[in-house]
Amino acid sequence: MAEKALVVIDGFALAVDRRYQAETHMWVLELGAGRVRIGMDVLGIETSGTLAQLSFEPAGTELIADRPFGQLEAAKFVGPLLSPVTGTVVTLNHAVIKNAGLIERDPYGEGWLIEAALAEGSAGLEALIFDPAELRAWFAAKIAGYRLRGVIAE
């Protein structure tokens, strides 16, 4: 895979070679032939607390944008992982199922969550943030907002 294009904004790394769902902090990396890899950015991780365990719907499950494709547990709180795209689950990352800490160690690389095939004619990717300038502005605004509300440390 191509080297991740990482920038650091106010102390938090952001890979600028992929798309992001603005509210859920899920990223989508296009792999070609209608296939995508899905993961969670560092702000999603930071606001969750120490990731303990996670589970995914099995390969072959239909994905609907903004609906759960799995569950994430952090600090004894189990909450849904919401899909940023519509399509079908193709592959699960069994390494992160076994060790959720991998997501924290390498969120834009080995810590990916699932791979999916996009639904035919899916326009879902257009709703995600991709333009580098827009990405940087969105990420910086999120950091500032979380700091203001005490969700992440100064």
Binding site: S48, Q53, L54, S55, Q71, A74, F77, V78
Partner: protein, 343 residues
């Protein structure tokens, strides 16, 4: 006008219903029911497993022999023993009413419980790891989850805690681990024999105040939607597929075997075994206690190695053991894969 608080006291319920009733409430709140505070006391003992946890963490044979049912809940945390000396509460709100960030949301929903304990004369604190404690002892177990568009946080008033049963229902790997687990349970889990009627009344007042709900509260029962959900949940929670859980089982893992037991945040016991090397120990805020080692080649240096590890940070154990030759290196390898803080 501010929203009202719905209060439901389910009284004494069967073990199954002491779980499914409040899960049904979450579906109701997700569908538009008011913020709900509920209470329930299980009629008889049982064991309950967090959503992601491995059923192998529970001694199911012992539970079967003791007639303790085992259920899997939809919120987080580990396997726990519940009985009629624990009064459980659940606060359920819609997800959009909570601040961003799970830890912050959790604190928002636990702080009123802490305030209620304090109003009742219990000097409780919500510590940095999110545990409700008195002088370092956990006095209220909790877990949380999002169910559809509702977030529910559960906790308990522990009137009396049966440390022996709470330890015995867990599937520890070695007798030494069971001993260490019981010792740490006694040291770090405590009870608060508060009057339960006063607890319910004070909790209600505290949540109304903290969540800015209006001055009256509804004493209520389940809605039709919630009763329908309850019937489905009763069926789901008693199915084998649900009990097995959403994650692949640990069966088939190589020769390496680890059994971890969490007593409270930051307090653990573990047993790790591979190729005839075995270590059991307690971990208190990152420091090793009660270390027992076993390896065929250790011979006379076992006690010396155990002594060298006692009081050491967990992170230093592998380095120290590496100084005990091949057996030490085998034991050191057991520490390498431990990630105790995650469960």
């Amino acid at each position: 006008m501010a929203d009202s608080l719905r209060v439901i006291d389910f009284g004494v319920s069967s073990p199954l219903r002491s779980q499914t009733l409040w899960h049904a409430v979450a579906y109701g709140v997700s569908a538009g029911a008011p913020v709900t505070l509920s209470f329930v006391r299980p009629a008889t003992p049982y064991v309950c497993l967090g959503y992601h946890r491995d059923i192998d963490e529970v001694d199911t044979e012992y539970c079967r022999a003791s007639e303790f049912p085992v259920f899997r809940r939809m919120v987080g945390g580990g396997p726990v023993y519940l009985d009629s000396n624990q009064l459980f509460f659940q606060i359920c709100v819609r997800v959009e009413s909570l601040p961003a960030g799970r830890q912050r949301a959790m604190r928002t929903l636990l702080e009123p419980a802490v305030a209620a304990f304090r109003a009742l004369g219990v000097p409780a604190e919500l510590d940095a790891s999110g545990e409700i404690c008195v002088e370092g002892k956990k006095i209220c177990g909790h877990g949380a989850g999002q169910i559809e568009d509702a977030v529910i946080v559960c906790g308990n008033l522990i009137e009396r805690f049966d440390h022996e049963q709470a330890t015995r229902v867990l599937a520890v790997a070695e007798a030494t681990q069971a001993v260490e687990t019981l010792a740490l349970m006694r040291r770090f889990v405590g009870s608060t024999p508060v009057d339960p009627d006063a607890f319910r009344a004070t909790m209600t007042a505290s949540y109304k105040d903290a969540l800015s709900l209006d001055g009256h509260h509804e004493e209520s029962a389940l809605s039709g939607l919630e009763r329908d959900a309850l019937a489905e949940l009763d069926e789901r929670f008693t199915s084998i597929a649900w009990l097995e859980g959403p994650r692949p089982t640990s069966a088939g893992k190589a020769a390496f075997r680890v059994r971890q037991v969490k007593v409270r945040a930051g307090i653990w016991t573990f047993a790790a075994e591979c190729d005839g090397a075995l270590v059991t120990a307690g971990v208190v805020d990152g420091v090793l206690e009660g270390v027992h080692l076993s390896d065929r080649g250790l011979n006379g240096s076992r006690e010396k190695a155990e002594h060298a590890l006692a009081g050491l940070p967990l992170s230093a154990a592998a380095r120290v053991l590496s100084g005990f030759g091949d057996p030490g290196r085998r034991l050191a390898a057991l520490f390498a894969d431990l990630e105790l803080a995650r469960l």
